[in-house]
């Protein structure tokens, strides 16, 4: 989900990561200064500079740019405010207006690779040694079928189940034991509604989030959305039907989903923070939106792994990657990788950078230490977590049910072809199931599959 992923990227990275390397690691200085004198200077344009309406983050970003240039005198950075935006990206690409380095969500790399809109980074990543440091599972997001790498992941999450610990307690449920299966989830939701009068469970349904969350749910039931090469819809089958049936029964039999049908990310976050929802599917970084933006008590926030049904199937993943312009020369590509590493990944491998980032996060009153999927290898990630331990300002024990399982839970990428169009076609399916008691689930899925197949064939 594009917008969500961007928010995740912002949530995970911008205030926090941008601060990451504002005091440059000293090792880079010597190397940069040494090699700088004789070589030709390279200039690259880097995107994602915060706007002037966000002075604190902009200052940190600018500081980092200055530090990078000091450490690498042979590279000149030209920072621009361009952000990935689904409504303008294609036009910017067509007009040659994209920066050399840009942050984009996980939904995009496969399409960009297919349309040849991104540079092949395999060689420079190998030369740099970065290739071996990254988490191979997450690296797949930016690889083509022969294993060439076109995008560098810098933040990742997997969807879990966010729940309100206070409502759990009020309903007589154990707030340290979120549901592990959808059957349990259904029973919990019913109990929450009966004991507290609030919606036990809610699900997003509009602006493509309906299809996106249905995809997540379908995966948890063992289903899929498209076949492997993305040429045909594959959701008109038993797991997807079971997933929708579960929703239908919670809404109409148990009456545990409240009255509202139309939720997007903003709407569901507000309603959840106001204590009107017991559980919903989201990623750990929802913490930031719920607690920092919408005023939920930190102690009421809980997250567990994605409940599974009839087996251990896995959950949907998302996050952001850095891409490099396809027009970049080899020297520019190398410079871009240096910058990506410096700006986004150093904190995972350099203790000073990690500590500075964490300190800055605390000073800016941002959540520090929100768990996510590691973009670097697992050992390295736990070392990083030890480094920042003294600065963590989120209740890690509330994330424990999620972190215990998420590290090993299988992650499944989003549908490979036209994910957003597929999600759009699935929105009304979920809305109908939640909006009309007599919805014919099989017919809805068959019709939606027809629509999706027409789009995939176009």
């Amino acid at each position: 989900m594009n917008r969500f992923a961007i928010r995740c990227a912002a949530g995970l990275s911008v205030p926090f990561l941008l601060a990451a390397c504002s005091s440059a690691p000293s090792s880079g200085d010597a190397a940069g200064a040494g090699s700088g004198s004789g070589e030709q200077q390279v200039t690259i344009t880097v995107g994602d500079r915060p706007t002037s309406s966000d002075p604190a983050n902009r200052a940190q970003y600018d500081q980092k740019v200055a530090d990078f240039q000091k450490a690498n005198p042979d590279i000149k950075l030209n920072p621009v405010e361009t952000l990935w935006d689904p409504t303008t990206f294609q036009a910017q690409a067509a007009g040659g207006q994209l920066p050399d380095v840009l942050n984009v969500p996980f939904t995009e790399p496969q399409g960009l690779i297919a349309r040849k809109q991104v540079a092949d980074l395999t060689k420079v990543l190998k030369d740099d040694g970065l290739m071996t440091q990254l988490n191979p599972n997450v690296l797949k997001i930016g690889q083509d079928q022969s294993g060439n790498v076109y995008a560098v992941p810098t933040a990742a999450y997997s969807v879990g189940l966010v729940y309100n610990r206070d409502l759990f307690t009020k309903a007589g449920l154990d707030p340290n034991k979120p549901p592990a299966t959808w059957d349990e989830l259904r029973a919990y939701a019913k109990q929450i509604t009966q004991k507290t009068g609030q919606a036990g469970y809610a699900q997003m349904t509009t602006s493509n989030t309906g299809g996106w969350m249905f995809t997540t749910q379908s995966y948890a039931f063992g289903g899929s959305i498209e076949n492997e090469d993305g040429s045909k819809a594959s959701f008109d089958d038993a797991p997807s039907r079971a997933a929708l049936q579960a929703l239908h029964d919670m809404k109409w039999v148990d009456k545990s989903m409240g009255q509202a049908v139309l939720y997007d990310i903003d709407g569901i976050s507000k309603a959840f923070a106001a204590g009107k929802i017991g559980m919903y599917m989201s990623a750990p970084d929802a913490y930031r939106t719920l607690v920092t933006t919408n005023g939920l008590k930190a102690s009421a926030f809980g997250i567990g792994p994605m409940p599974q049904q009839s087996g251990d199937h896995g959950t949907l993943s998302g996050g952001s990657v850095q891409i490099v312009s396809p027009n970049a020369t080899d020297a520019e590509k190398a410079a871009a990788i240096k910058w990506i590493k410096f700006a986004y990944l150093n904190k995972y491998v350099n203790q000073d950078a990690a500590v500075t980032a964490a300190k800055n996060g605390v000073a800016a009153k941002q959540p520090v230490g929100v768990p996510g999927l590691p973009v670097v290898a697992a050992d390295q990630y736990s070392t990083y977590q030890d480094w920042i331990k003294p600065y963590v300002n989120v209740p890690l024990e509330n994330f424990a049910p999620y972190t215990k399982v998420a590290a090993d839970q299988k992650i499944i990428p989003e549908p490979p072809v036209k994910a957003q169009e597929v999600y759009a076609a699935l929105d009304p399916v979920v809305q109908t199931v939640l909006g009309s008691e007599k919805a014919d689930i099989s017919a809805l899925l068959t019709k939606a599959a027809g629509t999706v197949n027409a789009k995939l064939g176009r």
């Binding site: 009255q259 139309l262 957003q420 169009e421």
Partner: protein, 280 residues
Amino acid sequence: MLFALPVLLVFLVFSWGPIVKGLVMSLQQTNLIDPVKWVGLENFRYVLSDPAVGQASLNTLWFTLLALLFGFPVPLLLAMFLSELRGRSWLYSTLAYLPVITPPVVAILLWRFFYDPSPGGMFNSILGSVGLGPFLWLDSPSSAMPSIVLEATWAGAGNAVIIYLAALTSVRTDLYEAAELDGAGVVRRVWHVMLPHLRSVLLLMLLLQIIGTMQLFTEPLLFTGGGPQGATTTILLLIYNYAFVNGDYGAATALSVLLALALAVVSAVFQLATRGWSTE
């Protein structure tokens, strides 16, 4: 002619240029990056076979009809009412105009809060106190569009009120006085004096409203995202989704061309049909 040239050029480049470009794009397949492919009428065939287009057309017409039935008379009645008030009329017209200066996004977020479907929602608690509801408002396919019409009428009435008020000031006061002397009550004064004077303005406003309502976009996008079950997906929202969500500019421009054609036909028929009335 020479002096008019710059204006003409600007007009050609910035006004007609995009229109022609749109027409051309409706015959191409392009994502603005790959080389352009000519596909003839393929885009038109595709959008006409998309079941969403049929539903969106019906939704759009449904909105237009509801807006004409409920949204059109409201500002007229308001304007007549305000013009009858003696003194402080500036205050009342300011109050009537206030919703117009509220930014649409803010107004819609506010109304979304009003329309909360739970029994504790703003409108539902008010109606609940007199034993009505709770209503689902935006969350039910049958009430979503009327709910949008209600908000749109509230938001847009002020503009029309101001125009009607201006038109009403042009009615000569001696006509009212004469009617009053003849013993005409308020209703007869409105019917025999006020309305005939407003006729041409009314017809123009009607045409503008039809064209305006057929381009409904912001409200469904922000209120419902086109849901529930596609009940508020309008043609313009669909064009937006084609272009900016799917990156299918060919389909988006093809549908835009079809909408423009439909509006041109509506306007022409309207003009022909009302030629007699407005110049009576």
